[in-house]
């Protein structure tokens, strides 16, 4: 049994505490926007926000998440897919296959919350997610564009 706060909703799920948060999100909570890529915390496809920080959910056991911890997934980042990062990604047509992009967007949103005007070096350090299609150049441009278009409203989305 686990009590989780996901995208502003409290959920009680029947699940073994040793299950990684990624699989609880995907298989129990039905939130499949968070992706399985490597399972060892290196690719970043499973990135979510926990209390505003970006975390790789494949390496976090659900028993280590407290009921009060606010988890935000790609589905909860913004009510209508209109977070400045999502808007910049759309404007620059960033994705190719798109599989890693939920994680890329979550990482970028967390970066901009911490550093509203990131430099290229900031982006290099914060954006360590793998994109096998090689959209890095467009991701970098989109982070800068989102930073330009970001106002005080940028945050963790959805009441979180």
């Amino acid at each position: 049994m686990a009590k989780l706060n996901i995208n502003g909703k409290s959920l009680t799920l029947t699940v073994d505490g040793d299950t990684p948060l990624l699989w609880v999100l995907r298989e129990q909570a039905g939130l499949t926007g968070t992706k399985y890529g490597c399972g060892i915390g290196l690719c970043g496809a499973c990135s979510v926000h926990i209390n505003g920080d970006v975390q790789r959910s494949c390496t976090i056991l659900v028993k280590d998440v407290k009921p009060a911890d606010k988890i935000v997934t790609i589905e909860g980042l913004s009510p209508r897919g209109d977070h400045p990062v999502q808007k910049a990604w759309l404007a620059l047509d960033v994705p190719q296959c798109g599989y890693c992009q939920s994680g890329q967007i979550m990482a970028a949103a967390a970066l901009l919350k911490r550093k509203p005007k990131p430099t290229d070096t900031d982006i290099d350090e914060a954006m360590t997610n793998v994109c096998r299609c090689g959209t890095y150049q467009r991701i970098r441009a989109a982070v800068h564009q989102a930073a330009t278009n970001t106002n005080a409203a940028i945050g963790n989305g959805n009441k979180a």
């Binding site: 073994d16 299950t19 990684p20 699989w23 995907r26 298989e27 129990q28 039905g30 939130l31 499949t32 926007g33 968070t34 992706k35 399985y36 890529g37 490597c38 399972g39 060892i40 290196l42 690719c43 496809a45 997934t73 790609i74 589905e75 980042l77 897919g81 999502q86 990604w89 759309l90 047509d93 960033v94 994705p95 190719q96 296959c97 798109g98 599989y99 890693c100 992009q101 939920s102 967007i105 982006i123 290099d124 350090e125 954006m127 360590t128 997610n129 793998v130 994109c131 096998r132 299609c133 090689g134 959209t135 890095y136 150049q137 467009r138 991701i139 970098r140």
Partner: protein
Amino acid sequence: MIDLKSTSRDVSRRRFLISSAAAGGGLALGLRLPGVRNAFAQNGAEGHEVGAWVFIRPNDEVVIRIARSEMGQGTLTGLAQLVAEELDCDWKKVKTEYPTPGQNLARSRVWGDMSTGGSRGIRGSQEYVRKGGAVAREMLIQAAANQWKVPAVECKAEAGSITHTPTGRKTTYGKVANAAAQLEPPKDVKLKDPKDWKIIGKPLARLDTADKLTGKQVYAIDVKLPGMLNASIMDAPVFGAKVKSYDEAKAKAMPGVRHVLRVGETAVAVVADTWWQANQALKALNIVWEESPNDKVSSESIRELLQQGLDAKEGVFIGNKAGDAPQAIGNAAKKIDAVYFAPFENHFTMEPMNCTALVTADRCEVWGATQNAEGALAAAAEAAGLHPSKCDVHKLHLGGGFGRRGRQDYTTKAVLIAKQLHGVPIKLIWSREEDMRQCSYRPVGLCKLSAGLDDKGDLIGLHMRIAAPSILASAAPNRLDSDGRDSAAFQGLNPVGAEARLGYAIPNLLIEHAIRNTHVPVGFWRGVNTNQNAIWLESFIDEVARAASKDPLEFRRQLLANSPKHLAVLNAVADRIGWGTPPGPGVHRGVAQFMGYATYCAGAAEVSVNERGKLKVHRVVIAIDSGYAVNPQQVAMQTEGSVAFGLGAMRYQECTVSNGRMVQENLDTYPMVLMDDFPKVETIVMPSGGFWGGVGEPTISVAAPAVLNAIHAATGSPFRSLPLKNARLQKA
């Protein structure tokens, strides 16, 4: 394998299934939608099919059928542009849908080939999909003309509207679609002159972006069906070894576990309520495989096999021959020799292999990410033991393909599991580790090169001997030549042809492939043989140019004098990178050119190597002439992706073999290019017209050699053994 081409069946009894994201993220199962003649069900609304490629709704929305697979390469948008151009519809009202291979089969393959590989998605179907758009336009115009009782020639179509020119009367596609659908499609239609294109050739936004930004896009790994169970599988780590024993009782006692099943002779799967439970139980099985003759194979033993191939007389095939290269080199004023090496590589698609299957006594349905929907249908039918007409494949967007998803082994395995559990949908997901162990790898290879220069420093002879496994022998043996030659091995090195011709004119030339197969399956990896062939040849050409004391660019220009298209892309990158002007402090440049997939490519790179031997790739310029560029923005994105793919392999990646098994199982040992080491990539899209080349793969060939040649300039030494991480770079 059942021949799909020879099979057809009654169209009216087709059974449609609701599938994909349009159903709101949940897939309803087996829902019949009777009464919608010739219409696809999955988009819900009424409408009319006007020719096979176009479906028009009363609200003027145009649904374009896409037979090929979208795996990130933008083909879905490009194919829609081709149809929309000739259809003269309103681009803002364009939607797309995938016909299933079952529907294709039932309609005598009206949508043609569904496979998506070899950078053929657009070039292989451009003519008939454009005709599909033109046919629909003519039918819509005719329907409007009939309604107005005027000659069709007095009517014209533009942006989804039809106007009767003399009277100014107007109607829309949505209003006449029903009448148009009743008409006989015209046999002959005239395609537009490329100079009149308004949609083709424009950098339009992709049609499939929005859902990828919100988590809504349903990939195959996200499919959920009512009553579905989840499976994880482990196949023999030594390819082909048979299962000997496993601890079924221990796995079965674990939470959520429903079944432990044999899958063929070599694999075992666990089926559980959730995938995580299935995968945990799989690890507890402690599967033991029988001894195999390949248990002792290692990277070292494979290298010995290849080494032997470099000088052997048997199992050697010729790809290109002119004059007498060995003799010319033997008599040359100066002789240059080198041996290059490239390792096995894995595709590492971000979405691991997976497939969902439902099998009953008389039906098999699969939901999957495949580069070859008809291949998946054939694989499903064979595994289920059913005729293909009783099977279908529901295709979802691919979380990466790069050639891996042309092979249908994961489809076969999902069906073999589901077949043991009739009526229960089974989603099989490979763990990343399984995905790394069970690939069709880019082949390992050695290449020995010898060149002869005359006393003026001109190249008078080149001998290139490749020793490597044959991709066709492993993945498509029916495509080998009758004598066993693998023609694909000479990609980019061929004497003639529009597909992949060597641009250099060398009077004495011998290019050979010693086929040396191992037990490791090899297959099509983005760029296929152009990768190694270009690295070997283009790195060596720099070595030869240096030995001749010539500028590598000028040396190439001289050899390409009779290959104007090869030369044009090379000149374009040289101009853009500023060849001949001083680079920044510590920065060194390299160039390369190559042809593959009927497309001409060149690359130029700027790199620096610091005092500690650390490499920085600053900038890569790539020029691509694919004849036509349907969407230049997508061409640029494919080029950027090819640079990332090519440089990742060149710098960091190798799959090695120990005790018959693939060693690298995840990103900790198989690292990728990340944001911080991705160079600035500039793409010069320079379509010269008159031919249709591929886009997804060709530019990968020049990325690595351009950078390797720049490293050679920076360090003063060639790097002949990949990946680079195994070498120590030293600033010159």
